[in-house]
Subunit: 215 residues, 2 copies
DNA sequence: TTCTGATGTATCGGTTCGATACATCGAGCT
DNA sequence: AGCTCGATGTATCGAACCGATACATCAGAA
């Protein structure tokens, strides 16, 4: 399974964790959850779903009619296959969340992992944030060296494009820095010695994530 | 030829417009020119190059030794195939620059087109900028409606991810707005009636492109 | 009624990626 | 000198992935 499909697998597991969904709805949610990047197509979604069923992470429910039993003609509705998470699937989800190789912080994967931070523990969150930050730092260095190498030899538009790209990455690093310090603040929180790190729900990051939110 | 490869074709034509290059160098430049997005692999580059040679847009030079004739052992150097633009290639380049379908402003293509704005005429520049802006506006609307639809039902991290994505697109729109007004300013420029729009180099947008550049 | 657009499942052809093989070179280490 | 190591360089292949499409139901508009 390729890198991109790995991200899709995690997204599916996470979205199905709360409630079963069928393919169409699932696709919409995945793609709005990760609104930034490129959308997954059905040609990727359905094969992935089938593979996950085969592996035992998902099960197919086929509700003849769930909610629309009220109408006058509630006859043989088109089969809407709802996918439901199996216990193995929940295990798999927890596994993918915690056991994060260094792949969790490249462009394709970071968004999905971040979206489910609420279900990961503080250590994992921190590791991924740090990893992502250093990845961006590399990209920043490449940008800067490319800019200084070719400075004055670029026409105005190309230069502006570079400048804009650089600025985008810089903003992203700043965003991560804010997130990281917010995490650190919520770790060092006193109030009850050692908040039972083995229990079910992690503390949930208090009210908000960020300290500042000026626009 | 797929959408992605179209962008690659334009990038190759543009980069080879000034000087011939070989594959390795070409790939580096393409990927740093468009540092923002995903990189092209050799598995895409070489087939594309061959296709372009077949179509007559490129020609292959094979310099036995160009610069390194100085060394003591200047024997049979490994063949470095330098690709050179043919007259048909230059035509093709101009064609792709000006004849822009509505595909020029999606994520994959916009960057390349923008990078070569210096060689396009003012009308083309404006059309692409406007098109890109309205595309982003659509994306913005999707984001906003998705946010308002699911507001309060999202956990803090997912919400933060959405917020950050939205903000990124907003900044991009603002960037485009600045570019657009800069273009308009440089069109309405007085100083010598009609600066000979048919001649070789378009006016080059004065000193910089942007008005402001605070930070 | 019929038409259109949203919902819904599913697959196929072709494009693109990631890994890899192979080869030369300069630089540093011992 | 020998040796490794990393950068440069061309090239290809299997696997992954996308975009388009087919097909079907249903709500609401015309």
């Amino acid at each position: 399974m390729g890198k991109r499909a790995d991200a899709l697998e995690l997204a599916i597991l996470g979205l199905l964790h709360d409630a079963p969904l069928h393919g169409y709805e699932l696709r919409k949610r995945v793609n709005s959850l990760l609104g930034w990047g490129r959308a997954f197509s059905y040609g990727t979604l359905y094969p992935t779903l089938k593979a996950m069923v085969r592996q035992g992470y998902l099960a197919e429910d086929e509700p003849v009619d769930t909610l629309v039993t009220t109408g006058p003609h509630r006859s043989g509705r088109r089969a809407r296959i709802a996918y439901r998470l199996t216990p193995e699937g929940k295990e798999r989800f927890a596994d993918l969340l915690a056991h994060t190789g260094p792949s969790a912080w490249d462009d394709e994967h970071f968004g999905v992992h971040f979206a489910f931070f609420g279900r990961a523990d503080a250590d994992t969150r921190m590791r991924i944030l740090i990893g992502r930050r250093s990845r961006l730092q590399e990209k920043l260095d490449q940008f800067r060296s490319a800019l200084s190498r070719t400075r004055e030899r670029l026409d105005a538009y190309t230069l502006e494009l570079q400048r804009h790209g650089l600025e985008s990455v810089e903003r992203e690093v700043k965003w991560l820095d804010d997130l990281i310090s917010a995490e650190q603040r919520s770790i060092g929180r006193p109030m009850g010695a050692t908040p039972t790190p083995g229990s079910g729900e992690p503390p949930a990051p208090s009210t908000g994530i960020e300290g500042e939110n000026g626009r």
